[in-house]
Amino acid sequence: MGKTLGKDLYKHRYLYLLLLPTVLFYVMFQYVPMYGVLLAFKELHIREGILRSPWVGMDNFKELVAQSDFWRAFWNTLYISCGRLVFEFPIAIVLALMINEVAREKLKKFYQTVYTFPHFISWVIISGIMFNFLGTTGVLNQILDSLGYHKMTFLTDPSLFRAIVFISSIWKEVGWSAIIYLAAIAGINPELYEAAHVDGAGRWQKLLSVTWPSIRGTAAILLILAVGNAMNGGFDQIFNLYNPGVYSTGDIIDTYTYRSAFADGLSFGVSTAVGLFKAVLNFSLLYSANYIVKKLGGEGLV
């Protein structure tokens, strides 16, 4: 076995050599910094550094779970992440299928560009646009007012915040997310469509029997990745959109960690404990999703 591996390594030595920088990069910048998680069990003495700071056992975790704000952020993260899986994830697939059905190539490209463009605008800019659009003196409220309705405080109403998060995220990212499905669709063998056509299939039947089965695998992999990313509720977006009025429904673990570490004076140890807690949870979610997809007959990641 060892001999075979050695032979194999030697045989493809140049390919492995080409791989080496990437491996080194990951080791240096992704794995080595992981020693930072030790901080979750330490009290950081800044001049001592992480390794020489004293151990405090599980104190940081105990302090963390005693904070009611943390649990609020924890549940919000779960709700928002589930919402993203339910509302945002399928829409990219639907959009890709719809764009694919557009017959004229130029029109197809036009739609694709229109839907993809918002991806390149930062959340900072979008939050400004949304304030102008949804603020009490914004466009939407001016329309409501001219129609005789009461003005609404969209941005400070906790019951509307998650909906705003989902809608704005769909608007910004759906086109970008659809690209990978469009690529998968582009790779489908045209003969399959021709065969279906000969068998008398209409467009809807072709979509159900040829297109969808061909991209199902891609969707399954992306779903696993999305579940694995579930505890990351989307810091950029929420941080730029939220305010104290909507903490009850909008404060997620990432924004809570940010505030607790930098603004509210909780120790870096507690903040690292939050991060570690989240990472472990993400890891278990990823494995669970992978397991379920494999059990259902799909191809998993691992």
Partner: protein, 557 residues
Amino acid sequence: MNKTKWIGLNSLIAAALVTVVSGCGNTNNADNANNAPAASNSANGSSNTTANAPAADDNPYKEHMDISLSWWGIGVGFQQHDGLQQKIEKDFNVTLNPVDIGWDNYKEKNQVWSAAGQLPDIITNSIVNDNPATYNQWVSQGLVHALPEDLSAYPNVEKVAKAQDVQGVYRDGKLYAIPRMTYPNTDMWAIDRAIFVRKDWMDKLGMKDPQSFAEFDALMKAFADKDPDGNGKNDTTGIVMNTLGYFKAVFMPTFPQFENGSWVKEDGKWMPFYASKQMDQVITQARQLYADGGLDPDFAVEKAGEANQKFYQGKAGALALAANSVAGSNGIQAEWEKNNPGKKFYDNVKVLHLWPSADGTVYRHTTQSFWSETMINADVDDKKLERILRIYDWLLSPQGKEMFDYGIEGTDYTKDASGTITITRPKEGSAYADLKKEYPSMDIISQLAAWRNASSLEDSPVNRLALGDQYVDYIQNELKWQLDNAKPIPTAFDIFSMSTPAKDKLSSINFDEDFTRIVLGKDDPVAMLHDAQKGYDGKGLQAAIDEVTSEMAKQGK
């Protein structure tokens, strides 16, 4: 592949790796000196400095030094490298490397830089009072330099160090921060809070100065509902605020200590304002104002200063800010008149004087005589510490004040042998050209060591010339009214910088966020407040109350 190719490929990969690693790892190179702070790379600083002793050399400024310096918006202020900045750099033989921080995130930035070991040489922060736990941490972990115990070589800095208010800033007998004094006495805080109101709108609506919160609420509601600008649109609101801190003035008659965020003695115990029973009424009133539409519905989503525009543009009837913010090219008067052509600010806007509280007393704002502080990076060596202290001593000196008042001698003014000053800079209209326009760094340099708010409040020939008689009279009248008619908020100044284990941890409580949340909420505000207060117990509130009460008892208070 032959040997040469093999070696070539390996060299290429190695070079690529080195580039990637060095590119990613180098975060503090010369190119980003304006953005990333560069701590002095000198030997470990020691508190046993000899900085106070003059250098052996005749010229104490012989050696040129680079000093990195953080300040709010310093990047823009120092961009032009104007004459004032050049003069300071030349006089003290230094290069000041600006390190920009923003009002919205300066505390976060300082925390990140401290963790990364990248604090600038001169650190601008406000943790002594705002977050004593972090201050203690910085001191105990040796992040900041202790000032020399003998400051006699820097008499102006020494004066600050010996001020009564500042004694709570010492840790183990050493001072680790130079508090940025605001006024020479706590009385002058009186005009640091003001509710500006549209006099013309009040006249049009037939409304008088409110004598109670209910009347204030009615006035703000009328601004929002009764189309005070007569444009036929529902596009006005009641009160907007520069920041939440200024808005709290509205509640001074209800619960004075809420306004200045101080501790209060209740049922024999000292407690932070947010634990007081008196907060029930504050939160009820704040919710009412919001629900009635008298409070800007967007107040929670606007960033500092954004809402002011609503007042300038005639979209709001009142603005909560400081009285002395009227002056200057970006002041309230200039901004308001720019947006309301043909109308005079002083004819149409006035300061609303607050109504008496339940005991018949009219209260005025007061707080500690300093807000925020300068710290010196612990990595700064003794020589650089000496240079910094010399600069700070000059900034606090009468000579420094003269420059901030009149500009550069020989360029902006002349002084004869008798000390008479003649301003030589050109006039713009009836007043002399604004020094801050000529020297964009003026605002920053003049405020590095002290806020100097008092300067603009003085009834002095220079203020009359530079800011106009109308402004000086307005400030003097307002100050006089406050001192004659209002009493300062009874304030336990000792507790601001007092440090006890549980009190230090209270910095994790951000009451402003809860206040905003409750005002915006739909449930009963008092129930929401009590719920929040219960949550504070989990953050050590009761222990802090016990510790502080015990400490105050030792002082017979």
